[in-house]
């Protein structure tokens, strides 16, 4: 059953059990779908030595960038750390104060999907012959070469969605959907930040994107 929380205090309450050393999946593509309130709460909560899995490595000085700036993140797993406003990550990386694992964006998504779907590993054509496949097992199948990729599983997923019902079902808005639905399947504890919560029965069952089974906690503003 999904638990519901409200506001900044609620967000902190929802993250109270995030442990040092945890792997945290953080939704969003740039700022779209980024669960900023949850990241702020995580900063206040204090967990450290985190591995963060997210498409980017923070923008500007808020959200993920602020978490990095506090020195809480040991390692970032992402597809695209380098952006015009990723100065926080850039500085930490150049100072050797943060580890980086660059993963092609589709592999990032598919490896989390595999974690959520109980797939042990999969042969993927992306990155064959490139530095990002170095040292990985490859196999030719039907004349094409594939790289063996393993699941990425989170202890916690922090995602941004548009709306939840009281059963924990989620819908998203436009391209802010991005990694949210995949991350919701791939973590032990899933916390969603939403704009509002409606009564159970008010979301169209045909249009639910993340069923409540995947959602442990919902924080509304």
């Amino acid at each position: 059953m999904t638990a519901f929380f409200e506001g900044a205090t609620g967000a902190e309450e929802a993250l109270v059990d995030v442990a040092d050393g945890a792997t945290v999946l953080v939704g969003g593509f740039g700022m779209a779908g980024m669960p900023v309130d949850l990241i702020d709460a995580l900063i206040r909560q204090g967990a450290t030595d985190l591995t963060v899995v997210s498409n980017n490595a923070g923008n500007g000085d808020t959200g993920l960038a602020a978490l990095l700036a506090k020195g809480r993140v040991r390692k970032v797993v992402c597809s695209f750390p380098r952006q015009s406003d990723s100065w926080v990550f850039d500085g930490l990386y150049r100072d050797g104060r943060i580890e980086l694992d660059v993963v092609p964006q589709g592999n990032l998504a598919e490896r989390m999907r595999a974690a959520g779907a109980g797939i042990g590993a999969f042969f993927c054509p992306t990155g064959v012959g490139t530095p990002l496949a170095e040292g990985k097992e490859t196999r030719e199948i039907d004349g094409r070469t594939y790289v063996l990729e393993y699941p990425i599983k989170g202890d916690v997923a922090l995602i941004g969605a548009h709306r939840a019902d009281r059963a924990g079902n989620l819908v998203y808005r436009k391209t802010a959907r991005n990694f949210g639905p995949v991350m919701a399947t791939a973590a032990t504890t899933v916390v969603a930040q939403v704009s509002d919560v409606v009564d159970t029965g008010e979301l169209d069952p045909e249009a639910v994107v993340t069923p409540g089974i995947y959602v442990d906690r919902v924080v509304s503003r």
């Binding site: 059953m1 999907r113 974690a115 959520g116 779907a117 109980g118 797939i119 019902d165 009281r166 059963a167 079902n169 399947t185 159970t200 029965g201 979301l203 069952p205 045909e206 639910v208 069923p211 409540g212 089974i213 995947y214």
Partner: protein, 209 residues
């Protein structure tokens, strides 16, 4: 007194924690739904792509686009969600269901399950979602009579029927007793109209209380 099928279903229902996400297999396990308390918040999953499945549909509520895994028309509860088959089985395989309840031909002392094929040479094999459920749910409960019609026990040292899954069964509900399959062996939780000693004498499997 041995349990009726209906009493077994009630027993299973009693052990399902409030708020659980549950898949009930085709046949006997489906009747567990009749014993779930509406206020328990238990959410039923059907492999053909739905969470929040309601009771069987009757009269005007019958909609041939809305059936359970047994192809029986069912209803939709508030908070339901539909998804396609790959997503439905990803949900099962990924360990997101709390409980599934399955029928069985045989269960071994190690929790191996045989429930899809009698092994008869002229039988047409048909597995459906049984293998996916067996390995997917966090807790796999089996409902079966303890003895087959020919009197042979269905809780066995090793399955002789073709397997559905290895070491996947957590608990077995039968008309005579409920057994937990544990790393330390088969434990008797409850007996019905029979003592554990009497049971032990009729089974080839070591059981403890």
């Amino acid at each position: 007194m041995t349990l009726t099928k209906d009493e077994m279903a009630a027993l299973v229902a009693r052990d399902i924690a409030p708020g659980s996400f549950v898949n009930l297999g085709i046949g006997q396990p489906t009747t567990v739904a009749d014993h779930l308390d509406a206020g328990s918040g238990v959410v039923l999953h059907t492999e053909n792509g739905m969470l929040g499945m309601g009771p069987a549909a009757t009269g005007d509520a019958v909609d041939h686009d809305l059936t359970n895994a047994g192809k029986v028309p069912v209803t939709e509860l508030p908070g339901a969600a539909y998804f396609h088959h790959a997503d439905s089985f990803a949900m099962m395989r990924g360990g997101h269901l709390d409980v599934c309840v399955l029928g069985a031909f045989q269960v071994s002392a190690a929790g191996d399950l045989a429930n899809w094929h009698t092994g008869a040479p002229d039988a047409i094999p048909a597995v459906g979602g049984a293998m996916d459920l067996a390995i997917g749910a966090k807790q796999v409960l089996v409902m079966m009579t303890l003895f087959a019609k020919d009197g042979s026990p269905k809780l066995v040292p090793a399955c002789t029927y073709p397997l559905t899954g290895l070491g996947c069964v957590d608990r077995v509900y039968t008309d005579l007793a409920v057994f937990d399959i544990t790393p330390d062996g088969v434990r008797v939780r409850e007996t019905f109209g029979i003592t554990t000693d009497e049971l032990a004498a009729r089974l080839d499997v070591d059981i403890t209380e």
